[in-house]
């Protein structure tokens, strides 16, 4: 026994030196293998195909290994992976192996992941539909809010009128407009774009106004001393100054817009991710519902990663 304890201590020491293989890494991988075993064990429910679930698990493991080898914060990466495996195992054991959960309300993971190969075209169509609406509403809103915010922030008299209005309107959840907008605009599509537009407009406008107002007077004075023309002032001074605010704002506003869109789609759409989820909920097809919810999570995560990448690649300065 004493020998064993000693060897363990030594091992622990060596691991600390090596740094690559941490206990948390081992735990995560043990849990990965456990997940595979849980899927392989024949349970009370026999799924038609387990291949998709295996594929998903392997994909998650690949992502984890990539993050682990490429990024910093290795311990957190391992912990996140471990949490995922525990959830997967719990789901698999409860729903498939032991069948202790409700057979209809809690679909088995094998079937949920099989949705992605069973109806990939339907899912893709809905993702594209959602993304189109998101881009239309979001981009118009961003462009208009930036242009208006720039002028309002620059002119103190206009600012004193517009800012309080924006401040009152900004916290009104745009989603409450949805039913009314559908009636008003006669088309769900226009209403959804409008909801996103309104939801993003006021906060972005407020941010832009505050930011322009906060521009150091010395910087403006220096620019004035160079005798800059108005276009130069806008494109070479104000917009470069605003750019980081705009893109870091995306980090908050893109998920917010996605939330509004999915909710709007659940209200009256005939396509989109929100529609996919609400439609199958109405039909009681919870397998597709869970697959749809996971899909929304994946889409939001990808958008967030793209924004982070954009920030990392293009925002080089700070104040």
């Amino acid at each position: 026994m004493a020998d064993l304890a000693e060897t363990q201590q030594e091992l622990a020491k060596r691991e600390k030196h090596e740094r690559l293989v941490k206990p948390s890494f081992i735990i995560a991988n043990v849990l990965f293998v456990a997940t595979l075993i849980a899927i392989a064990v024949p349970g009370k429910v026999v799924p038609k195909s387990s291949a998709e679930f295996y594929a998903a698990v392997v994909l998650v493991e690949c992502l984890f290994l990539w993050r682990y080898l490429a990024g910093g914060r290795k311990r957190s990466t391992c912990n996140i992976a471990s949490v995922m495996w525990v959830l997967f195992i719990a789901w698999e054991v409860a729903a498939t192996d032991l069948k202790v959960t409700h057979p209809v309300l809690v679909p088995i993971p094998e079937n949920v992941f099989a949705v992605y190969t069973r109806i990939p075209d339907e899912l893709a169509r809905n993702v594209v539909s959602s993304m189109t609406l998101l881009c239309e509403g979001f981009l118009t809103s961003l462009v208009i809010a930036t242009i208006v915010g720039l002028f309002v922030g620059w002119l103190p008299k206009v600012r004193e009128t517009v800012f309080p209005i924006a401040k009152v309107l900004a916290p009104v959840p745009a989603i409450v407009f949805t039913p009314y907008l559908v009636m008003l605009l006669h088309s769900f599509r226009a209403a959804a774009v409008m909801v996103i537009f309104l939801g993003i407009l006021w906060p972005t406008l407020m941010n832009t106004i505050l930011r322009v107002q906060g521009l150091d007077r010395r910087i403006v004075d220096s620019a004035k001393m160079m005798g800059l023309s108005t276009p130069t002032m806008i494109f070479r001074v104000l917009l470069p100054y605003l750019y980081p605010t705009i893109v870091t704002g995306l980090k908050v506003q893109l998920p917010a817009a996605m939330l509004m869109l999915v909710m709007a789609e659940m209200y009256g759409a005939s396509s989109g991710l929100g529609y996919f989820v609400i439609n199958y909920t109405n039909y009681g097809n919870y397998t597709n519902v869970v697959a749809g919810i996971i899909m929304v999570g994946i889409v939001v995560t990808i958008l967030d990663c793209l924004v982070s990448l954009l920030i990392r690649k293009t925002v080089k300065w700070s104040e």
Binding site: D216, D221, M226
Partner: protein
């Protein structure tokens, strides 16, 4: 060669509810090619004087003439260096200088502007910081770049608003020497330098103008061609310093802006 004259200038600004008079009937002639230091307590209106020459503020009464023509607004015939934060934080040191060069002189090509900007950064001793952003530079380096930018504008009048105010004494001393060297190298520019540091004024100035709130109290002509590195040893300079210090004692602090 430009001369600047203040003719009976009043400047008042409205602060929340009350109107505050910062300058009252100020008249002053700044000669061609002169290095003039405005000295006084903070809030005495010396920065206001500078902003008026810059055209960033307008007098409520009287007028400011540059070579006989009234100042209408800011323009590239005057360059300005502030205490801090006036560089564009989204441009590297080099880009800041290049931008100033090209905006004030449209004929200069990109490559030429860049070569000239590197030369200027070299002159002020920050050549190796060319590709860094202002936030990555120390206060002293930032002010060197700001001076390079002001030189890039190549204006006949240079306005400096406590440019070394936020720096520690060692670096301050070094930058004063550098400024003097640049000054002597590029003859015939007119400079107005605001400071509350009497030693700084004694080193740099041809003439010192002492201000109390709203008014000019006294001007001191400093001997030309003196040894600027040894102001302490010169009895004439010591006398001026003592008199200015007495004035500092005698006048009140004005209102901070």
């Amino acid at each position: 060669m430009p001369s600047i004259s203040f003719k009976g200038v009043d400047y008042a600004y409205v602060d929340a509810t009350e109107t505050y008079l910062a300058l009252e009937d100020v008249s002053l002639e700044i000669r061609d090619g002169e290095f003039l230091c405005l000295v006084g307590h903070s809030g005495c209106g010396k920065s206001t004087m500078l902003n008026l020459i810059a055209g960033l503020e307008h007098p409520t009464r009287g007028e400011i003439l540059i070579d006989g023509a009234p100042v209408e607004g800011p323009g590239p015939d005057r360059s300005i260096v502030f205490q801090n934060y006036s560089l564009f934080p989204w441009q590297t040191a080099l880009k800041n200088v290049v931008f100033a060069l090209r905006q004030t002189n449209k004929q200069v090509g990109k490559a030429e502007a860049e070569a000239r900007a590197r030369e200027l950064l070299e002159q002020v001793g920050v050549a190796d910081a060319a590709s860094r952003y202002p936030s990555q530079l120390s206060g002293g380096m930032r002010q060197r770049v700001a001076i390079a930018r002001a030189l890039a504008i190549d204006a006949p009048i240079m306005l400096l608003d406590e440019p070394f105010g936020a720096l520690d004494p060692m670096i301050r001393r070094r930058l004063q020497d550098m400024l003097l060297q640049l000054w002597e190298g590029s003859c015939c520019k007119t400079a107005v330098f605001v400071t509350h540091d009497i030693d700084e004024a004694l080193i740099l100035a041809d003439r010192i103008v002492f201000m109390e709130p709203k008014h000019i109290v006294k001007t001191f002509d400093l001997p030309a061609g003196r040894d600027r590195t040894a102001t302490e040893d010169d009895p004439a300079m010591r006398a001026i310093k003592e008199e200015v210090l007495e004035l500092f004692e005698a006048t009140e602090t004005g209102r901070e802006d």
